[in-house]
Symmetry: C2
Subunit: 370 residues, 2 copies
């Protein structure tokens, strides 16, 4: 009989922090057939759309209580980012705890499970852990951070050392993107449990050489000098700050054949610029849906020649065929072909999206350190 006073007190304590708002409607509701219903209360909005990752915006309909909703057709098992666009303003679903972090456009996310578990889902296999590390970057002149995945069993065996994949996020992401959105820690757990990937350390640094790049938002891409500074300082911070910290703190192998670099979008361009210009450091390079590629391949990759090809254990270049960046990636591949550089040419279904990149990283990681 004491439950009600306790409830009242907690609700009062909660309400004082949250103002007098109505409870949010149930959203998203993933149905047994994998159709998803999204709901959003906006009684006075004139138009609300669902912007779901990989799809065209779709109109939602309002009920008498001012709640807009839409039910999709059954969706393929995946994790989808989404926003509600209310009278032109993209909004996060206030009913959904699952948020896709982003420095420019945070969104919500919904996981749709299938009959069998997907590679990016947490399953009942041994798990690695994810370390978040903080340091002061002399190159950037400000605080920076990075994440480190150590594979299952890392703690138990104090002798074994591991190869390292440096894995770079895209423009507008924060350093957590590959774990929170990409779920790369679960992807690696699953691949390792299935014997499909070698146990490895994955280092996920903050991917800006200067935070000015993120602070300016999309306008940063119209400032070519800023882009060049960003790329140059990123390489410097990675090679002179992050990698030495990792190698002093973790049992990381240091040979070039035990070090890989890969990334998505801006991080794809960074992987190419940092990797191909530092073949003494990396023998494995992956570039997923690269964006912000060099304007002039010859001047940005000055040392690249046929000899480079022999030093590369793998150069893996992927892009979705419906990605607006496909033609820039094809330009790059034509250049590499002309220079006699071998690469794996991977074109997949899909747009510029995490639906593509989770699959890319799984495919790429399985090839590494063989």
């Amino acid at each position: 009989m004491k439950a009600l006073p306790i409830l009242a007190m907690l609700l009062a304590a909660s309400a004082s922090a949250q103002a007098q708002s109505s409870p949010s409607p149930f959203s998203p509701e993933v149905r047994p057939d994998r159709a998803v219903t999204f709901r959003f209360r906006a009684p006075n909005a004139k138009a609300v759309q669902l912007a779901l990752e990989g799809r065209q915006p779709a109109p939602m309909r309002k009920d008498g209580a001012g709640v807009w909703s839409i039910t999709t057709e059954p969706l393929a098992p995946d994790i989808y980012g989404y926003s509600f666009v209310a009278d032109g303003q993209a909004l996060i679903d206030p009913s959904n705890w699952r948020i896709k972090p982003n420095l420019i456009s945070p969104q919500s996310a919904v996981a749709v499970a299938g009959a069998s578990s997907q590679l990016w889902e947490e399953t009942d296999v041994p798990h690695g852990d994810v370390h978040h590390r903080f340091y002061r970057s002399a190159t950037m002149g400000e605080d920076s951070d990075f994440y480190v995945y150590t594979p299952p069993g890392y703690d138990a065996d104090k002798e074994e050392s591991f190869p390292v994949l440096y894995l770079l996020h895209g423009f507008s992401d924060e350093a957590s993107a590959w774990t929170t959105v990409g779920q790369v820690n679960f992807i690696l757990d699953n691949l390792i449990a299935q014997g499909k990937a070698k146990p490895m350390i994955v280092v996920m640094p903050l991917g800006y050489g200067t935070m000015e790049m993120a602070r300016r938002g999309w306008a940063a891409w119209s400032d070519r000098d800023l882009q060049r500074t960003n790329f140059r300082q990123f390489t410097e911070a990675l090679l002179t700050e992050v990698a030495p910290l990792v190698e002093s703190r973790y049992r990381a192998r240091k040979d070039r054949e035990e070090r890989a670099i890969a990334g998505l979008s801006m991080g794809g361009a960074e992987s190419l610029l940092t990797g191909l210009n530092n073949l003494d450091e990396f023998a494995w390079v992956g570039a997923f849906s690269s964006g912000g590629l060099p304007a002039n391949f010859q001047s940005d990759f000055p040392a690249l020649d046929k000899e480079s090809s022999a030093r590369l254990k793998l150069l893996w270049i992927s892009c979705g065929v419906d990605d607006d960046l496909i033609s820039a990636n094809r330009d790059l591949k034509r250049y590499l072909t002309a220079k006699g550089i071998r690469y794996s040419d991977v074109e997949t279904p899909g747009i510029h999206s995490w639906l593509v990149w989770r699959r890319n990283v799984a495919e790429f990681a399985a090839l590494l350190f063989r």
Copy 2:
């Protein structure tokens, strides 16, 4: 001259994921005098309020472009959670990357810096790191996780072992709350650098004994059986799953005098229930703004007597005087006094808020393991 095509391509790639929305207005804008301007586009809303942590909701005003705004008076340096309440619906600020994660009511957050750095800010001192660990909980029958802070220098010295603080979040929080919202890793970094706290490991488990408690939302508190299951299973998972994992993976001291437990709100009640009923395990107990306290102190703390007091190195009970839970906390303190149990009686300014708990944990941590 290549900058514009690159920009156009990236914008197109971004837009396809985000639908045709307008850029969000600049928000929040922290001014040099520490006043903060909040802006939110909702052209057809009839009323929008700012719900800022620790304050009454305040009306915002709309301009001709449909952007609502408000400028506060200068705010004391702190980190404030906030929402926009648009026609009764609490919303996350879509312009702000900084989000306060929560399983029921995620919000935005804004940091207001002062002339000197605050204890919870990242400063240029040695940093500990934060480990995120995943495991399958037999007690809960589902996946669970916890975070571990290791102090600066933990990696460098492979021999030294450290005392452990188990630190529990509140109802509706996820396991990351003490680091993402509480910034306890930076608080410890700063206290340790100043010689005000002993280097320690901090373990921050998921604080539910059953996730049903979180899935039901605030309605869970009207189900007394569910609460009891939640508290009982939380203690079991902590003592039989999380603590053994921590002690097998980290250089953690195991003596009761080297183990503390503390938490906020629901986590305060859990600290009391788990700590005071397991004095063989913990000699230090802290309870900040406890919520969901036992209905019957005598039956929930059966073994508590004057002998208990001698075994407790510290029992630290705090609450803000404007917290709706102050009277429940005073009831508890009266009970402890009647039973002859000594405790530190800490009443501070403030409501049920992280503004109180960041200060609580700093004060409490400085007292530990002396």
